[in-house]
Symmetry: C2
Subunit: 445 residues, 2 copies
């Protein structure tokens, strides 16, 4: 057992927001004017290491996450990191099943637990000098199994089945790992947001194709004719061989999703993402069965609120692509469970990225999945959004020839530029303090 | 259209907690030491009316709800109540689908929206001088249909089907209403909590039987032999004709639930409540199909996090009894949708009560269901817990001959005793300020 000697001394939480609503970057039918935001967690210690974590949000409400993170952080201060290292599942479960806080259920509470737990994993990885993906890849199988809360999952995946998956993942692992260090996971990019002009989309996609990307995603669901127009534009830019994904961000009911996507099938969408409510397992099953003969896949995950919903989605054929997210669930422990369930049900893991810091985190999950769990690159693509990196993160993530560059620095690689944090601190930073308008929640203008 | 002339001037939110963990009242396998708590909402206006609402919680975390309620309340202040009265669905939807806050999803966010929306319904009812159940019963069918967000529900229940249900509910409505005013919904009580001695249970149940109650519920799931012992005791007290319900508060996985309840079937449980995770639709379907030949029903609702999960549970035979809750969903609008779906799928509505103020609220839903929606009392029982009424609420709810007394005062009847609020205000009230121990979250001692 490692003895890190690290004791947690303080947890700092900051509310940082970027006024992305000015440019409508990231806009979709539901989230029309997002201000990409993050609750930034720094777990400080008696060592030189700081455990970084972010919880992504889209403007108003970030302060709710910050409130929860600060409240829950008292349960961390003064503890030895080794408590977590020796029993990562126990600590995760104590938080998720806290005898009073459990009442708050998923949503804010699970995201807040994830924010703290992910900071602990970062601290752990740094104490061993490893990037997060390498920490996970090197963990004893027993430790992985003991990190997961099996209570509600074992009817779909037993710990023994998970052990079998991980043992198979050990075969030729060194070779896959070496190859992954040479060339990271295949990336894809989201362009074609509703707020952008055709020229902006064309310029953006051409620029990304020049870097080697061949998968592109467009938002759909506001207006069928406009969707046709933009999908035709994208299909024209990327050619017959390109992969054209569509994303409805839950704007439809079940029947509407089936009708709408049937009407768009001529553009040969690779998948429809979030066709309906994040927790409608049976609705997704119906949609997936209707899309299958049209050759359209079904993807979701960025808002799937619990491992239990993932379990049902994966076990029932509701998803053809599993879009794990980095900050929706209760951290690494939850996401490892989802990746293992996806491996059992042979649903490729294609993580959801974007926002602030999500891509920096999901690359580690994708690498772990492709090296050590599913142990294949087949059918796996990882979302990549090319903004909020330079000047935001101390070590911006890199893409080369359409692939993520496998990170080598310790932890998640989420350390942010202090000046960026200061300028974007809400509502007192330079970016916000002189802007007109309310500092609290407001209905869309 | 009514013109109330009421303008919202202020929203007051208080954090009130009762140290119920001292007596272990309300304890269960997961929530071992709950301090029954409420975020108390008072929507003040330019009239004599105040819109009251509570959001129930169990101790730590109540402040998270209070934080959210205060934050969101800025969207109410200055508005005319008539905006809500004329478009109750629009306002509810604007909150639930707020273009930035929607990211917070269910859990804390949906509960907070419910807290505000329910206060608006209280204000509306008071402006018409009607108890909440009578406001709902008197509403034009069009208004009910327009109160509900159909986006994710219409694949299970169309607005036209709901109209049909409500139109059928108009037949002989006056007669059922008169009878309901004479004798309210049938009550049942929860005794046999894990923290109580046998003598305490026997005394409590005998006392309740003397008031006419014949349905009793016991917590199960910590220890099979102890469950057998307590179920035998309860069966002995209530006799062969009494209804003995069991409640596991989500302690089990799916297979474990099936095994455990099969082992307890000799005590002829009327239902097993929350056998597994609140959002495991497919797990509940399996459990229900295994319980059916044993004559054991399946109930859930107090933590079902969204109308979409209720939709799937009701449409798939996962539940034999639909336990709507008063403060888990986003208020009256969400609960009306669930009651209508339950009517379509012929699942009796048996609301979840207890906590602080839940029974005061659910009686209105039960009456509306039994008078105007399902339009029957058959198979319908309403949870009743006989504490935190006297000295807590200005008008404590009443039980007579095993039935709720149908309330006649305007609104929910949630007005609380000011002295109770002051004494229990957390952490500064007299009850809390001198107690040892942390004022923030702590792991169970």
């Amino acid at each position: 057992m490692a003895h890190s000697g690290i004791r947690i001394t303080e947890v700092q939480v900051d509310d940082v927001r970027v006024p992305t609503s000015d440019s409508l970057l990231g806009s979709d039918p539901f989230h029309r004017k997002p201000d990409y935001s993050a609750a930034i967690v720094r777990i400080k210690s008696n060592s030189e290491h700081v455990g970084w974590s972010v919880v992504f949000s889209i403007g108003a409400g970030t302060d709710w996450l910050v409130y929860g993170l600060k409240d829950l952080s008292v349960l961390l201060v003064g503890r030895e990191l080794d408590e977590f290292i020796h029993q990562p599942g126990h600590f995760h479960q104590r938080l998720m099943e806290h005898h009073q806080l459990r009442w708050l259920a998923d949503g804010v509470y699970r995201m807040v637990v994830g924010g703290l737990v992910n900071g602990l994993w970062d601290l752990w990885a740094k104490s061993e000098g490893k990037p997060l993906w390498a920490l996970l890849t090197d963990l004893p199988i027993e430790t992985i199994l003991a990190s997961i809360d099996w209570r509600y999952l074992r009817d779909a995946l037993t710990p023994e089945e998970a052990r079998g998956i991980l043992e198979r993942g050990q075969q030729d692992l060194g070779q896959r790992r070496d190859q992954m260090v040479q060339k990271g996971p295949l990336a894809y990019s989201t362009s074609g947001w509703l707020g952008l002009s055709d020229d902006q989309v064309r310029a953006g996609v051409n620029g990304l194709m020049a870097t080697g990307l061949r998968h592109f995603k467009a938002k759909v669901g506001s207006d069928l004719e406009d969707d046709r127009r933009r999908l035709a534009l994208l299909r024209d830019i990327i050619g017959d061989d390109g992969h054209l994904m569509t994303d409805a961000n839950q704007i439809w009911g079940v029947d509407e999703a089936i009708e709408w996507m049937s009407a768009l099938s001529e553009f040969r969408p690779f998948w429809i993402e979030e066709p309906t409510a994040r927790d409608d397992v049976q609705g997704f099953v119906r949609i997936a069965s209707e899309m299958e003969p049209l050759g359209i896949g079904v993807a979701a995950g960025e808002q799937i609120p619990s491992p239990v919903i993932f379990k049902q989605m994966l076990a029932s054929g509701a998803l053809t692509h599993c879009q794990i997210d980095a900050t929706r669930l209760a951290g690494v422990n939850d996401v490892m469970a989802v990746i293992l369930m996806a491996a059992k049900f042979k649903v490729p893991v294609c993580p959801h990225g974007g926002g602030i810091g999500l891509c920096n985190m999901i690359r580690h999950y994708a690498i772990w999945d492709q090296v050590a769990v599913a142990a294949t690159r087949d059918n796996r693509i990882v979302e990549y959004i090319d903004f909020l990196q330079e000047g935001v993160f101390q070590t911006p993530l890199q893409i080369r020839d359409g692939h993520y560059v496998t990170p080598q620095s310790p932890g998640w690689g989420l350390e942010m530029d202090e000046g960026f944090i200061e300028r974007h601190r809400f509502p007192t930073g330079a970016v916000w303090r002189d802007r007109p308008g309310p500092t609290g929640p407001a209905f869309e203008a």
